[in-house]
């Protein structure tokens, strides 16, 4: 049976996020001919609506209220609940982003719904929708479904393929003013530490450093290689614990779980908890002095050598013929 599917789209740094397009692709599959509605809270415009249409939305709600210009749980959960009641969907999808992780469980509780979070694949068999999700940070997987009520899931970036945009596709665009009151949290300031950097969970390429970088300055060659590749910079727990870098860069079972096309591990031995966070990457390159390092067991290509020699050579080569 066809279903009405609601997708909460999201913008970051002025552009729609890839994971929103991925959610639309999943939504189309779940909808099975039914209507896909994308909702954008805050500063959405017609260009966003067009783009959402090209990726599969049949209808776009641009929900406005000055309280929606920055995320707060109270404002967004009120606006979401209002739109939810208008759309009356059979299924809801969000990205498993900072926003999705915060909003989805809050409104799931408000509406009395089950929620399957952080899904990496979906299987639609007739009326049944089964979600695949990692457990133990990807050391194992589970298949899960909603047994009672509306289907509700958050999906992880970089896993479900977004469709090809169809330039001819359009959607009904509805501008909607939400009623919002009683915001309990006040944002006093925002410190942008990520300006100009690429988000780890959405990056196609990640260059990571471990204990082998030896110091905060030791991350410089890692950053230079990342710049040459247009990649994000990650780190192992050992590097974070040693104070070489910020915890927001940590990849692993504690930290971020990533699935880029290419993961380059530099001076990382490959502790179980780190492997859990990155071993589902498509291609893994390991650079380590110790030929016995466990990282080589999951690497597609390995170079046994000093990262301070190897990494600058890679950077030089990639600079010659840009990616």
């Amino acid at each position: 049976m066809s279903k009405n599917v609601l997708v909460v789209a999201e913008k970051r740094n002025g552009s729609l996020r890839n994971v929103s397009f991925e959610a639309l692709a999943a939504a189309k599959e779940i909808a099975a001919g039914g209507k896909v509605t994308a909702v954008l809270f805050g500063q959405g415009d017609n260009a966003d609506a067009n783009q959402l249409a090209q990726y599969g939305a049949d209808q776009v709600y641009l929900v406005t209220n000055e309280e929606l210009n920055a995320y707060s749980t109270d404002a967004f959960s009120q606006a979401f609940t209002e739109v939810f009641q208008i759309i009356n969907p059979d299924a809801i999808l969000l990205g498993h982003t900072a926003l999705g992780r915060d909003l989805a469980p809050r409104v799931a509780a408000r509406l009395g719904l089950g929620l399957v979070s952080d899904c990496t694949a979906i299987e639609v068999n007739g009326d049944e929708v089964v979600f695949v999700r990692p457990i133990y940070a990807g050391k194992a997987f589970q298949k899960k479904r909603v047994t009672d009520g509306i289907i509700f899931a958050t999906i992880r970036s970089n896993n479900i393929a977004k469709g090809e945009p169809d330039a001819g596709r359009t959607a009904d665009t509805i501008e909607y003013k939400a009623t919002i009151k009683d915001i309990r949290t006040v944002i006093k300031d925002v410190v942008r530490k990520t300006a100009g950097t690429i988000d780890l969970t959405e990056a196609k390429i990640i260059v990571s450093g471990g204990r082998g970088v030896k110091s905060a300055e030791g991350f410089n060659p890692i950053r230079e290689l990342a710049d040459a590749l247009g990649a994000a910079v990650g780190a192992s727990r050992a590097a974070c614990d040693a104070g070489y870098c910020d915890y927001s860069m940590q990849v692993g079972q504690t930290g971020k779980v990533v699935t880029p096309d290419l993961y380059i591990a530099c001076g990382i031995s490959g502790a179980v908890q780190h492997l859990a966070g990155m071993s589902n990457s498509k291609i893994i390159v390991a650079i380590n002095k110790d030929p016995e390092a466990p990282i080589f067991k999951v690497a597609d290509y390995g170079i046994v050598g000093d990262l301070f020699e190897v990494v600058p050579m890679l950077t030089e080569e990639f600079k010659k013929v840009p990616v």
């Binding site: 900072a98 509780a109 949290t185 925002v190 410190v191 498509k282």
Partner: protein, 255 residues
């Protein structure tokens, strides 16, 4: 100030996962406090030490989870609650309903928990519980200060930091970097042995199981395909580097 900490006992992150009969095997596994919950325990104890108050830790789980509660008590929490009843070991919907019932037995000013557990990784229970209790929540915090009934936190938003103020009661979830959890001291461990652990069942809480049944189910669990070790490149370093770049460009086609 009354503080409640939500805690889950999880596998140590260095454990490998083995399945037996489609379930994750618990044989010989080392258990720890979920690392994110450990930050929450540390923060709660530090707030108590600075501002006074009482810290209660709560878990839902089998009797083995009492070991995690004892560790939290040894770190400085004052008392613990365990809901050890298989009939409530359900999904996040059910767990948060049960926790809400526990939390409503007292008037907590602050509730802290990890933003996710490293086993299920769902990151749902904190926000769900706050909604069940009708209080505000802030997730993934990396710093926290208490000033009377005002709480000032730094929230990690995918690497950016938001500085947020909120009044109690509030629920916050801990992100890595919030603090360095202490190791329980020997006197702490001795004292913890005498601190109370309250053991509760669904009946004790007056729960009607039929009304809070899980809304999701696990159909199957499996291990990912084993990654086979690839190629260790040979030869002089410059040759290896060229070979790697060739391979990434033309074989793997990822750059």
């Amino acid at each position: 100030m009354k503080i409640l900490v939500l805690l889950k006992q999880t596998f140590d992150t260095e454990e490998k996962i083995v399945l037996s009969n489609g379930k994750v095997s618990e044989d010989g596994v080392k258990y720890v406090i979920n690392p994110y919950d450990e930050y929450a325990v540390e923060e709660a104890v530090a707030i108590k030490e600075k501002h006074g108050g009482e810290v209660t830790v709560v878990t839902i789980g089998p009797s083995r989870a009492e070991a995690a509660l004892r560790t939290a008590l040894a770190m400085g929490a004052d008392k613990a609650i365990i809901v050890d009843d298989e009939s409530v070991f359900g999904d996040e919907y059910m767990i948060s309903k049960v926790l809400a019932t526990v939390a409503k037995r007292d008037a907590y000013d602050l509730i802290l928990g990890g933003y996710m557990a490293v086993d299920d990784g769902a990151a749902q229970v904190g926000p769900r519980l706050a909604e069940e209790l009708g209080i505000a929540h802030i997730s993934t915090i990396t710093n926290m200060e208490v000033d009377g009934s005002l709480v000032k936190v730094e929230k990690d938003v995918e690497g950016d930091i938001e500085i947020i103020e909120v009044n109690m009661p509030v629920l916050v979830t801990a992100q890595q970097g919030l603090n360095e959890p202490r190791y329980p001291s020997l006197p702490g461990i001795m004292k913890a042995k005498k601190k109370p652990i309250e053991r509760l069942t669904a009946d004790d809480l007056g729960l009607n199981i039929e009304e809070i049944l899980s809304k999701t189910e696990v159909l199957e669990q499996y291990l990912p395909q084993q990654k086979t070790a690839g190629k260790i490149l040979q030869g002089e370093l410059p040759e290896q580097v060229s070979e790697l770049i060739e391979a990434l460009r033309f074989e793997a086609k990822v750059v």
